[in-house]
Symmetry: C2
Subunit: 338 residues, 2 copies
Amino acid sequence: MTAINRRRLLATAATLSLLFAPALPFLRQAQAQTDPLPSWNDGPSKQAITGFVARVTQQGGPDFVPPAERIATFDNDGTLWVDHPIYTQLAFALDRVKALAPLHSEWTSTQPFKAALEGDMKTLAESGEHGMAELVMASHAGMTTAEFEKIVTDWIATARHPRFKRPYTELSYQPMIELLAYLRANGFKTFIVSGGGVEFMRPWTERVYGVPPEQVVGSSIKTKFQMRDGRPELFRLPELNFVDDGPGKPVGINEYIGRRPIAAFGNSDGDLAMLQWTTMSGGARLGVIVHHTDAEREYAYDRDTTFGRLDKALDAAALNKWTVVDMKSDWKRIFAFE
Amino acid sequence: MTAINRRRLLATAATLSLLFAPALPFLRQAQAQTDPLPSWNDGPSKQAITGFVARVTQQGGPDFVPPAERIATFDNDGTLWVDHPIYTQLAFALDRVKALAPLHSEWTSTQPFKAALEGDMKTLAESGEHGMAELVMASHAGMTTAEFEKIVTDWIATARHPRFKRPYTELSYQPMIELLAYLRANGFKTFIVSGGGVEFMRPWTERVYGVPPEQVVGSSIKTKFQMRDGRPELFRLPELNFVDDGPGKPVGINEYIGRRPIAAFGNSDGDLAMLQWTTMSGGARLGVIVHHTDAEREYAYDRDTTFGRLDKALDAAALNKWTVVDMKSDWKRIFAFE
């Protein structure tokens, strides 16, 4: 091909792309309609999900569910984003304790703060629930809700995951983001139901998952309304309000959503009760467990770990015919940046 | 006009109405577009509401608010439906105590149950918060959430208001139902934020107000997840969980909605904090108080009553330029059945 011919070809290509540009979004849409879950390999997991959606959306079909009742609930840590080597919110709490340490000289000799400051995870784990609660209160309470929102927003923009060296929000699972969008495109209302702090998630869930604040259910501490200098504010108190984990998940679903989901997605024993509550209620129901089986691209763990332990829920999955997603074989890619 | 002429005219009218029948919904819609609030008299209240909506929905205007942030919160008792002579939920509790009395022979000699069974409202009021709590627990706890939903649904279908002799759901205010629909048509998400029990409201709010269960915030008792005979259930415990009234309203808004409203509607001092939280935050905001001024068509009360007392919030309305709706002059009709 001569230089002139090549130039002509490029010119033609440029003209063509200009001509076709208005059509491109439609073409992309058509493609998306062909496969709304491009990051999922074909297989039983993908089929179980698309088959369920087809059944409950088929007008006049035996399993049809009206759009208003198409509630889907998603755990967050380990289901929508990475929860290893430690929960992201724990990483946040540890960073906050370090940032606040200059104001608390006593922390260098008091547990669990000493362990937190020294990065001594073993001692920290040994401090148990009580120690964790102290850490959470010291890092999450004592400011207004507006102040806390700013602290979270700033942290999530700058903090990096120790292994992937990327912002935590980029460590959300691409196949699950596609799944959230696919369900919404089919009339579902998608909710997050997480053991994590609700005010730790709300500042970024809309941007990352397309889930607005009012559809995020999580654990919380108490707040107090007060007028200060003639302006209303909500002050965050060092007192636990609600733990949205384990048997707390159906309680939270009932309290915050007020409708029973028809589909639920989790990855650990903390999601067992939510999956039971969702699927054991008659009619077409979908229960999905994300099984971390890919140590190379992400992590591999189930029965033996402390964080996100998947044991009883894995047994229950077999018994109740829940879909167990094998990350290694079911997901073409895990992260958007791959 | 002769008989034959009259008959001919009637025949013509019948034909015409048949011909025009398919067009009627469109005509009605066109009319509704002209005036989305037909039960509101023209005046400062209606103008304040429509002016606010015009400002926040004007793309590119200085007060424009994106649809996702157009959150509007409504108190229920006295704002969306009648709360006199007693709160509807108290009428429900009293009926439940009567229904359960055969199983509790001790109630004929124990307060506040004796007073409840005898309809002795004076003694009942004197039993105070503690007495009310006992009444609520006896009538609202001790069954599953599914069982309670059925009890509420059955009661609301059959109970009648002592003065109006109609189902309580028919005693919702037609102008407010139009207002809810008008806001939704303008991209608002409408929430109920009520001191009433959330599980007492959710079974009927969608049908009556167009507000789905997940957009109802209210007071609640604790529930417990349990498996019974291999089936999951939520059991209602005789323990208070959250009081969504007074300073609890902004707390509830933050906890259950997670976004600050831009418009709030109330009728009593129980709504004062919600109105402060909503309106004192910069940007175009709307605070509205329904003032009960029509003893003939409904009730007239403000500073002197026990139920739905409007005192501090009325002073605050003047100070903060909230819109005070005068039911007598602002509302063309109060109920749909008028």
